[in-house]
Amino acid sequence: MVGSLSVKSGFEIEFIALSVPTLRDNSMKLTCIIDACSYIYLDECDFRATIGENDYSLLNLLDHVVTIKYSHEVSREISRHLSSTSVEVLARSNKIHAFRKLTEAEYEQKLVAKVLSYPSHNKGELDNLAVVIDLFLMGKTGLVFLTDDDNALRGCLRELLPAFPICQVWSSLDAVLFLYLNLYQHKKFQLSCEAAKEAIVDLLAYKFKQARKEFEDSRISMSPDEYALKVQKLNKDVDDQKFEYFRHLDKISHLLGVNQL
């Protein structure tokens, strides 16, 4: 059956599907341990792909090609956010990791020398790291620690993550690269390079627009220098990421195009 996967922002993604269209393929499936902000970015940014009659967010697409897991605390953070938006996007109960080797409290005690109360600062990120370690100790490989929390990466995770070289660390932008490559590889659905670039743009807009708007709103109360410095720094962060990820996508596209994998 030949069909088309279209994305609402206007471009077309072609796919060839046998019988019932499905993105699921369990061979070599990665396990993504995702934090709350990445979950929300991937789900709530503007990007939508329409497959058949259904709309798919980036989170939905990712959920079809990887196994998504997270800690109890991250689940609570997501629930708090979803209750404010009244949207339930994924059936989530089976995504909460049940610890096997140690309990959540025992991991916390060993990682940061204390048991973290609920809720507490960085508990979500640290418990997600505990999920990664627990899965590894259970014999799982192909683990991905997916986070967009730059403060946590610079803070509580800065020394812990390098101590456990058992997973890749992705941002939501990396997830788009993976989706582009993975959907191509599976041959069932192909996300065009153009569509992947739109996903990058939508993620960056979702992630940074509010910060930019806050600078604009307080422009009058800031000195021209302070305003300019803040805006220049933010612009540079965003344009560096856009440029970098567009180039990554071009490299993937070039490879796929040249080699016809």
Binding site: F47, V201, K209, K213, Q232, D239, K242
Partner: protein
Amino acid sequence: MTFEELNLTQNPFELINPSLGFQSEVPVFWAGMKNQKRELENTFLNAAGHRNLILNWGPFGAGKTHAAFYFKNQPILEQQVELITLYVRTPLENGDAIQQLLENIIDDLSFTKLKEIIQARIAELGESQLFNLISASIKSEAYALAIIKLGYSELKLDDFMYRYIYANVSRTELKKFQLPRALKTEADYLKFLAGLIACFTAGKTLTKVVLWIDELENLLYYTSRQFKRLTQGIKTLVDSYDNLLIFLNYTLSDGDEERLRILIGDVLWDRITHKLGFSFLSVEKGLEYCEDLITHYQIDKSMGYFPFDEAALKTLFNSLETRCLTPYEINKKCSGMLCYSLENHFKKITQKKVVKWLNV
């Protein structure tokens, strides 16, 4: 102590507030950066035919916004042509960028001035001919009629037309004022904006509309859908009107044209007819900039850099934290030094005094 005692009519390095700068009817002065000035003048004078889309790019404070202020009031450019110059920033708010662009353009021009221009065109061509011209240009009788009605002088209609552009109007009101449709979609707003340009350039005197779109780097915060709509909208305008010049100002500190192409997108990039880089200044170009500016505001114009001396200026340049010379950074430093000199009754600004100020 006063500026006069330093042989100056005022502070040459005073920073211009962007909003006030563009509203001013007094021509602003251009200092240094002779290549950029020449290239921009040539662009104005030679602009003809389709596709007048010019990209000015460079670091923050390098003079892109100042160029918009400068070229707003230059009589030399208006000898054979009437210019209607508009300045807007790339909208940042959520929602329809084209709608915000249209509203910002009318804010910049003012509703009163907009009415005056339309009234002048009606007086010159007659209502029927103007309607036909606009309607043929944008393929919409509804919006051509709305633009004509903007030129009427009736209090109730004025109020209605104001809301027609900026807010919602009801079906009853539309019927009452005999307009078939309101502005709803981005396509509607784009058509209306195109209709205004058609109206502005419809007179017997050659008229060019010059639209400066500043801070285009705000596109970084657009979703892909918003990005496409705005860039496509600008492209449509550029492709449709001979007498429209659009200048895009993009602030980019690092990087080359390849990076810029990726950030701006191919839709606009492929339409750009001229790219003008505003780069960091060398010390030599920085001194040239200062000399031009100081001389312009000197009472006795034969005194070089006075009240500064060359070594003092070089020391100020070297003190810049970023080590990147732009007119903005130079203005900031030199202005600070001048104020300090006034407070401390310096009669000349030497390197030694600059070092003292820098160490305060």
